[in-house]
């Protein structure tokens, strides 16, 4: 692994990586059964240099901003490296957002260049607010020969020969603007520095060192903090290989394990649950004597791996299970949302450790991670090296808000000094999550202080961001809350959103209004939908500027109504 202490920027460390392992494979890209790309570090460097030279010709240099709006693929990483070589600031955007939201974030970030895929660009160009977009250059991949590029140029044509002039950056310079959530009124653009990333990389690789020959399957979006670190920077500074799939169907993910002999993969609880469901189904369909044997061997494996994972032993005891995962899998990483301990235990007992962690974009990815010595299904692990974590205002049970101080904590939110001051106080990042330390020093997460939820797909949903879906609903007032914000409980499973409706009259809410609300709800992407509504018969408390006093309203609701007042929408 490259000694990161000797470098000041992501560009410099990636440049050292391509020089260190020129003939190792850094990227494999597959689409269904077909392999569409396989690049050595040297080839990756050449393709990136061509784009960096083209950026240089455009006058792109230190501090210039370029956005990437792509699904996981080799050109994502090639573009990112080109931007870093030129000393630019990268703006990784979520390809799953709606086009008008993507435009809003492109404008907010003040990106001047955009690397994207043709189908995404087509959707962006059809959005109502497309006219507001001001970009100097748009580069599209995957465009067919006769496609109308709508002002963009092809990836293949955006290249210049020669080696681009490398632009050095300092550790404190901003490397990326990452939107942690929020497209409503206040996008949260986390300004993450080169120092943040390099320190995070040191911390993670100290627990899980990659090396040449390790193959990491990248299925979480690379714009997401976890995959950017564990599916790009981490493997590259260790000479490992990243595998991208253009089709993220469970069937092809399962096939990738055996075809590419995957060593590590990060995933969100929803995907882990899907794998569990598939495995359980296969086990249930096997003959009774095999099920009995599996139960016996799983019990032996559990007993023998109690203190630490023993991959070779587990593969010997449970060969069929491990063959289905390619035979070389060492661990899954999971984070971004609550994972049921029973699911984590299920995999561990089969000899497939799941390193459960906790973090947030503002903290530069991970804050805690289970080091598997021993495996714990009921915690999110201990603080990573270099992280100071404390519990603020702990109650009698030791539960309070989780705060973190480390060199990985972001610099600030873009153009949001007030929000920055609320979030980072005296050098401590206040996460808004509730937790406690148990005697062995592991962190347990037990709820949220903030009005928000995290879905099983790892999406942070802020109620304020989806309220505009219900604008002009024929009611006197409406408001969206996280159910657990209205009625706090020390648990993170099954989080959901609630629509509070205050009708025009004292009578029950008319069915036409409820039907309209349900229709508006259906128009939202599934993970943003509210689950229930709550009828409320009093005026909402408001500030002088007529903003809803959410905490006061939540308190009033809590005092008069319980969860049993909720009605499915």
């Amino acid at each position: 692994m490259i000694d990161l202490r000797n470098y000041n920027s992501l560009g410099a460390v990636l440049r050292a990586a391509v020089e260190s392992w020129p003939q190792e494979i850094c990227l494999i890209e597959a689409d269904r059964e077909r392999e569409s790309a396989r690049l050595t570090y040297s080839e990756f460097d050449k393709l990136s240099q061509q784009r960096a030279s083209a950026l240089q010709e455009e006058g792109f240099g230190a501090g210039s901003r370029a956005a990437i709006l792509m699904m996981n693929q080799s050109k994502w990483l090639i573009s990112a490296y080109a931007v870093f070589l030129r000393g630019g600031v990268l703006v990784p955007l979520d390809y799953k957002l709606l086009a008008n939201e993507q435009i809003q974030l492109l404008r907010h970030s003040k990106a001047e260049m955009l690397f994207t895929e043709f189908h995404i660009w087509r959707a962006v160009s059809e959005a109502d607010n497309f006219g507001q977009l001001k970009l100097k250059r748009i580069i599209v991949t995957d465009a067919s020969a006769n496609a109308d590029l709508m002002g963009a140029i092809r990836w293949e044509d955006f290249r210049a020969e020669g080696t681009a002039e490398f632009v050095a950056r300092e550790r404190g310079d901003v490397a990326c603007i990452v939107y942690s959530s929020g497209t409503g009124g206040r996008p949260k653009g986390c300004m993450l520095t080169h120092d943040n990333y390099l320190e995070q990389c040191v911390a993670l690789t100290s627990l899980f060192p990659f090396r040449p020959g390790v193959r990491y399957l990248s299925i979480l979006p690379t714009n997401h903090a976890i995959d950017f670190m564990v599916g790009f920077i981490g493997p590259f500074v260790c000479g490992a290989t990243v595998v991208h799939l253009r089709t993220l169907r469970p069937e092809y993910i399962r096939e990738a394990f055996t075809r590419y002999h995957i060593t590590y993969m990060s995933l969100v609880p929803l995907a882990l649950k899907n794998l569990e469901r598939g495995l359980r189904q296969r086990i249930a369909e096997s003959p009774a004597h095999r099920r009995l044997l599996l139960r016996l061997l799983t019990g032996i494996n559990r007993a023998l791996t109690k203190n630490r994972p023993r991959p070779r032993l587990s593969r010997f005891l449970l060969p069929d299970i491990h063959r289905a995962f390619g035979g070389e899998l060492l661990a899954f990483f999971i984070g971004g949302a609550f994972t049921e301990p029973a699911t984590l235990q299920f995999f561990y007992d089969l000899g497939i450790p799941v390193a459960n962690g906790y973090g947030c974009t503002e903290a530069g990815t991970a804050i805690t991670l289970n080091d598997l010595h021993p495996f714990r299904a009921d915690t999110v692990g201990k603080p990573l090296p270099g992280m100071e974590v404390r519990i603020v205002n702990a109650d009698a049970e030791g539960i309070g808000e989780v705060a973190v101080r480390s060199r990985t904590v972001m610099s600030h939110y873009l153009e949001e000094p007030e929000m920055t001051a609320e979030t980072i106080r005296d050098g401590w990042l206040y996460t808004g999550d509730l937790g406690r330390f148990e005697p062995a020093g592991h962190l347990q997460l037990l709820g949220r202080k903030r009005n928000m939820i995290v879905t099983a797909e790892g999406k942070n949903i802020y109620p304020e961001d989806i309220e505009n879906a219900f604008d002009s609903l024929p009611v006197k007032d409406f408001c969206v809350f996280a159910e657990n914000f209205l009625w706090p409980r020390n648990e993170l499973s099954g989080e959901k959103l609630v629509l509070v409706l205050h009708p025009e009259t004292d009578r029950p809410i008319p069915s036409s209004v409820l039907e309209e609300a349900a229709a508006r709800n259906r128009a939202l992407v599934p993970y943003k939908r509210v689950s229930d509504y709550l009828a409320w018969d009093r005026d909402f408390p408001r500030t002088a500027s007529m903003k809803i006093k959410r905490e006061a309203l939540a308190e009033e609701i809590r005092a008069r109504l319980g969860r049993d007042s909720l009605v499915a929408i």
Binding site: M71, L98, H119, I120, R246, T247, L248, N274, Y527
Partner: protein, 80 residues
């Protein structure tokens, strides 16, 4: 060449079979996430099965924003 109605009917039958529900409980305008009680990954599994059945390839992004059988049928029909 199938008609859109035939395509829709075949999708409904395959979805019913895959998720073990009665075909009669499914209608073209149903939100399949809700009716079948499935998550986004299970919907992608269904898409793979539909690709095999109709002998087509549908990029994942074609399913983005699609939540009802009828719209799904239209996307598939355009590639037949």
């Amino acid at each position: 060449m199938r008609t859109l109605d035939q395509t829709t009917e075949e999708i409904l039958a395959l979805a019913a079979q895959q998720f073990k529900v009665a075909r009669a409980t499914l209608a073209p305008t149903d939100d399949f996430f809700k009716t079948l009680q499935i998550d986004s990954l299970q919907a992608l599994d269904l898409l793979t099965r539909l690709e095999h059945h109709f002998h087509i390839e549908l990029p994942d992004y074609e399913l983005q924003g699609v939540t009802d059988f009828h719209t799904l049928a239209k996307r598939i029909q355009s590639r037949l």
